[in-house]
Symmetry: D2
Subunit: 499 residues, 4 copies
């Protein structure tokens, strides 16, 4: 499908794609795809006010009814899967399989959220006082701001939106300025679901903010947006977190990761190689969960590096729309520069670089690079810095304790894993003294989470959780209630106070 | 018991009580009780480092074993209940029954936490991939800073400490500078429990920071204190929250409340009067959950105000150690001034004040005041401002919707209640369109929570939760794990990536 | 739609509808609809063996993948909603709205189960031993036998099947001998979903047993059917329960109810009348949750009875396919006889009967009756006996305690309710000293449960739970595991045993 | 301590120990210890009636208050630990460490239950109807009959009683006729706790039935005992289960086990040997979780058997009060005969027996035997039969699938384990296709469960669960409630029914 067809299939009109001031280019070839209309700063207050109004209505709909809207969203996503996947490829540069996988994740979270809409369980609690009962109930919070990044231009939105909607919250979405089209496509898909849902969905249940950081800042700073879910760089999060805290909001931060894999002597090396390559070079190393550090037992390091070099050399870099391509473009030239700088720094710190060179032959006009494998003598500053490109640093270890200490010795705490067949090593890695990350896997790479678990990480990753488990609680307010249905008024803790 | 006996019974030595630079006075009579040693700013880094070292050991102890320490703490608190309650009275000015009630709450939370130590439940989760299993486990976080206020000088510590300890975290406690002695007493009681517990409790599991705001700031700003639980004013919280966020910590904020009661036409008025008086004047109006606003249906307002005036006139104000006293001193002269200012402002806004005058006759030399009942024509700025004294503003309403809107129209969101016998009113108040507070009660006042529920509030109350329900999760880090025990490596969402 | 069209739309072939030995008649007019093929007793062992084989395969599919089959089933049910609803009307005699409502309930449980398939949560549990971890996981059980009754010929199957399937269990369904066609239709709908699902659904995942009680007995007695979920009469359950227990199986029993409503002085009477009439005469009184006993405060009894008499007199009895009909036929002539007998007994016990007479004019040739309202002087034996027809016994009470005692004084414990606006009464009814039923409602009738809650009752209702909450655990086996990943072997409870 | 002192310390009077008709002997030497008074069949109805009366009062006490009684019970057990442990040794023949361990387990469950008393959590559930709320609450059930066996004469009671009491249920305990004294001692200890608890504990909260099977049958058959928790043989359970089912009660069955360990090639053999010996010969093989079958990989079978033979030969058999004794007496001569018969049968089936002979030298006059290790060519009928003595059958396997199939191929399903360092083997054993038991461990033996997990098993083990996790739900009834606080009456599933 060429991109005109893709956009048409998704319901874009010419007016939407032209005449705006915001230029959209494809990382595949750097070509301009559209000029879309920007939201101005002046528009934001009215948008937030409309969201507040929508909230007043939406929160009164029963949650299972709200779930029905998300079910319809899931149906619409199924219908639009190919087109939306193709647009992800076009706008974010992902290979086709990954573009489709991202849409599948949207569908999965919708299915999950539909069931969840009948399971927003609070608790009934036995009171210590006769004739009293306690309970805990979860209520809608209000407008939920979603700030998302270019690398998962649609899935992150769906994680937040599916849950926010069933929880009774309208959504205001500020997508990456690099990927407004996928955002507009999602908005259209949701609008179709809303149209089928019927009249009890209020207007403005979902609104878009197209534009740059200033627009996002307006969202972050508004007291009328009680929840801000922001996915992106640690730098961005370091601004958002304190700002939201300062105006008593709640933030759900999903920031950077500097994700490692420990490869133990007993590891199934063939499986490890597959896991490493997918994690390190998938999405051209531009996942927050991309594998960036490999901590290999010294007894197998040479063997593993050789296998990896062989695997890396076979990877086809190029147009992500080609069936055989495994490594598409970086998002822009800045990313390519950052990659080259990091490699230079690594060399300066004693590293040996395999691959990593820019690719210009046989590829379109975008920013392409061969993934890099870098053997490092130790975990240097460059290694500890997240560079959002396909560089994998390889280091060796002697004892498991040492490996875990290396794994933990970075500022971020998103994802981590170990490859081992030894159950003592596996369990130690997962224990209180093991990985300090929000995600810790055994015999699978750090990336590719299922939606059933809570997703997120510790330390500079920001502490937020999205998707499965009880992540929905992040979108609701908790109410603890004691009801006295007796004709007496005892005090807790046996306090007496007789007037 | 005179205070010398109380202090002796709690194990204080002369050296601890004299020779320091931090002067402790009793609000009962303003007299100096002790001069305790202050922690200096220079001491703080070493204290935090010791806590980190304690963490390394403590986290490896099984949680049920950690629970045993808290069980012993509960036993020691039972033994010291009278003495510690008396010290609370001495140092914070609470009446005896409330001093003892506060210690009982400590005992309750210990009992609760012991059971919880075997119930730090994570989840096992069915994976979407064959030969895979998912789980979610909760692990210790690291040192937990506790900042507490004068008005619950011991209970708030126990809530945090009992949970922090079973969760595997050492505690560093910065009590109010007005109540260091109760803090030192708690530390001693815990030390006795630790001594009985035995050698596997590491040194420095619990440390005190005695001093002012600068010491607290050092705790708040340290990257090595991943959790800061701070109870106090909204002003304090507005500083702590963003600072902790800025260095990627987690804060649990329990800040101010401007708590209201709606009294509906069907209310059991006799019960309401008792509930109002206890909530509004108990602890001399110095609870975060004290009742500050009364929203009464116009049909019963006169009757209720008359009853309240009668009840207020019978309240004995004075030395909290006297058996008949129901209203003890304010914490200091500043509080008394703030009270008088607020009353003047209320009058200027059209209010009619009943009571509220300073009391100097028949009381010791502290800051005493008669509780004030203030009829207000509307919910003015003064009413919307939390003044931490026994002032109760009374306003009338016509429809329940109006009453709920008034209840919600303040910046804080801690506690709230309705007195009604009508189930439609009661349930509406508890629903998504009802109270916006963390606590919402029916036919009991806003104060006096049981430890089984999560305690805390929304908006400027800070959003934190302590005590019961799953508040323990605030003291742990969540780990989502996927374990592949198959010999294959499928990707989630059906992504294919064949190298 | 005539029934030929309905059957055709559902995919029935002539061969399925003719040539069998099992005659299907419609309660609407007693006419023969089909002659379907019966399962013979000799067939049962092979059917169970095939189910066991299917189990071996199905249990290895990840639960979220199993959920996908249930999602497809939900889609197919949406497609066939009108036709299946019409067949329910034809075969069970329900009015159209109720027939469709029953299918909607099937759709709801599918949506619910899809979400649940990622939430079959077990627990991770902190062990008391260092280097150990505990967890609790839920595993598939094996073939699940479903025995259902004529009155919910399809919904009960869907509740059980949706959960059984996601839990990893094949299903063997023995429907009521009066409603084999709806069962065959459901089997066809599921087959269509399976066909779309693809090759990893094993053969024989769902099988039907068409026939009488002997076939059901073979299922109940088989050691190879670990779960038997049986819905029907208490008499049936009294046989099934001990038989399944005797061969170490698990039974989920949903048996009779003798459901009452208490109407308190403060009740919204207009609402109560609507609730009573729907609960008592809906499905012609043939729901397990039908309202059978009305316990009215003496102060309002006359008024309420008058209103009910008026409402009853306006009810149209007749062909359930007519738009205006609210009361369709009884299932057969036996039911009509039972009704007349019960009314005679009630009269003999002092009752006053309003309505209740057989209706033969203006209706087809089935067993029709006007719903009966019977004023009773006390709760006699006849009142305490569940007669599965539209008889509502009305009694009066003085105090709430007395009313609750009457409510509880029957052998069954399924559903119950109170109509009151008084919160003390409402909460007392729901408390430990209130209703002893599995379902206790306030201001809604006893019937019409949502699928989000656990459905079932106590005492002779059998104790089983289906549908929402953690009812899914009834379909799985629980495994408690302790994993020692340390190099030591401590014993629990500090036992020492040194060899 | 001699037994007179032990009994005296526990508060027994001479009148209690003499003059009855029920002779108590010690398995240590067969000597008569006491003649206690028996409960007659005629007494039982009144006992049950008193329990019902106690229930009416006890259920109204708040659960946290009920928890306080269990806390006091825990304190009393701590005080009596040595004496009660010694009595367990005397009456059941356990070695001292195991007697004390059993009391420690009682203390643990009390601590657990105290916390649980504030966590009898039901759910609040979002309703699909506007103005409605759903919830699920757990209420007390009524008298709980506890039937326990000689081998855990006190712990099983405490598991049930601690939970039953906090859940609001009185207890009627029928201990093994072989161990009435420990039961009477527990009753006394609980009485002391009740005396401290105060007046709101009703009379007859706990009652004993001393006597034989007929007394137990009366309990089992009474409609007024809604819960029967029975621990003992499969034969006993096969009677109890159907009887309780027939009168609509709930049974919690903890019956026999035929527990196996798989020892894989990678196992830590030294650890395995320790685990095997403790599991197989601890409590003289008379635990329901005793290890009875060893399934060893053929590559290590010879080595492991040699090690076991060496370990077995070092075990001291004799008076359990001696510090060095590891194997005390069997419960009686019948057990010794059963052991000799089983060994003969095993030999007839091709087995090779090591040890197993009666021991008469250097031991008191009880029934002593050397533990037996029996190498079996295959899993014969004798192996598949649980003989409640210290016989361990050893078999070999080739593939893990084969080992798991052998593990599962017995009628019982209580406990199981694998020793392996290979994570794939460990996880497979714990998966849906692994062990079919209620308990499945890795690198620890099948016995010695912690109280934090749910304890119990599948198949002929009876399906009951006690102790931790949500086992408390077995002692309560579940109530699903929908409350309509709106002024409308919508029906679920969109049904319309307009009168």
């Amino acid at each position: 499908m060429d991109h005109t067809t893709v956009l048409k299939n998704l319901g874009f009109t010419d007016a939407e794609l032209t005449g705006g001031t915001h230029v959209v280019t494809s990382p595949i070839d750097g070509a301009e795809v559209a000029k879309v209309h920007e939201t101005t700063l002046a528009d934001v207050p009215a948008i937030i006010a409309k969201s507040q109004a929508a909230f007043k209505a939406w929160r009164t709909l029963p949650a299972p009814r709200r779930g029905e809207l998300v079910r319809l969203l899931g149906e619409e996503l199924r219908t639009s899967k190919d087109a939306l996947g193709a647009l992800v490829t076009l706008e974010a540069g992902k290979i086709t399989s990954e573009g489709l996988g991202e849409v599948q994740e949207m569908i999965d979270i919708c299915d999950f959220a539909v069931g969840q809409s009948r399971q927003l369980y609070g608790l009934t609690i036995a009171s210590e006082r006769p004739g009293h009962k306690m309970s805990e109930t979860w209520h809608p919070m209000g407008p939920c701001g979603v700030i998302s990044a270019f690398n998962f231009p649609v899935a992150v939105w769906s994680w937040n939106t599916a849950l926010a909607l069933i929880c009774g919250n309208p959504v205001i979405w500020k997508p990456s300025e690099k990927t407004p089209l996928t955002a507009m496509a999602c908005a259209k898909i949701l609008e179709r679901a809303i149209a089928r849902f019927g009249a009890d969905a209020p207007d403005d249940l979902h609104q878009l903010l197209i534009g740059g950081a200033d627009i996002g800042a307006a969202l972050v700073e508004s007291k009328d947006v009680p929840i801000v879910s922001a996915t992106g760089s640690t730098r961005m999060g370091s601004i958002v977190g304190p700002k939201v805290a300062a105006r008593w909001g709640r933030s759900i931060l999903e920031l950077g990761g500097n994700n490692a894999m420990i490869v133990a002597p007993s590891a199934d090396l063939e499986m490890a190689v597959r896991g490493i390559v997918f994690s390190a070079v998938g999405t051209a190393g531009q996942r927050c969960t991309s594998l960036r550090r490999l901590i290999v037992h010294k007894s197998i390091k040479s063997e593993l590096v050789e296998k990896l070099k062989a695997a890396y050399s076979s990877l086809s870099v190029g147009d992500p729309r080609n069936k055989n391509t495994l490594v598409g473009p970086l998002i822009d030239e800045d990313a390519l520069s950052a990659m080259q700088n990091a490699l230079e720094n690594a060399i300066a710190e004693g590293g040996t670089v395999h691959g990593g060179e820019p690719v210009t032959q046989g590829v379109p006009a975008g920013a392409y690079a061969a993934p890099a494998l870098v053997e490092m003598p130790s975990q240097s500053d460059t290694v500890k810095t997240e560079t959002f490109v396909p560089i994998l640093y390889v280091m060796e270890y002697d004892t498991l304790d040492e490996a875990i200490a290396m794994q933990n010795d970075v500022p971020q705490g998103l994802s981590s894993c170990i490859f081992t067949l030894n159950m003592r090593e596996a369990e130690t890695f997962l224990s209180a003294t093991g990985s300090d990350c929000g995600i810790a896997n055994v015999n699978i790479g750090p990336s590719g989470a299922e939606i059933g678990g809570a997703f997120g990480g510790e330390k500079e990753t920001g502490g937020g959780r999205e998707s499965g488990s009880d992540a929905w609680k992040g979108y609701m307010r908790r109410q603890t209630s004691t009801v006295n249905y007796s004709a007496k008024l005892p005090l807790a803790q046996g306090v007496s106070f007789d007037i």
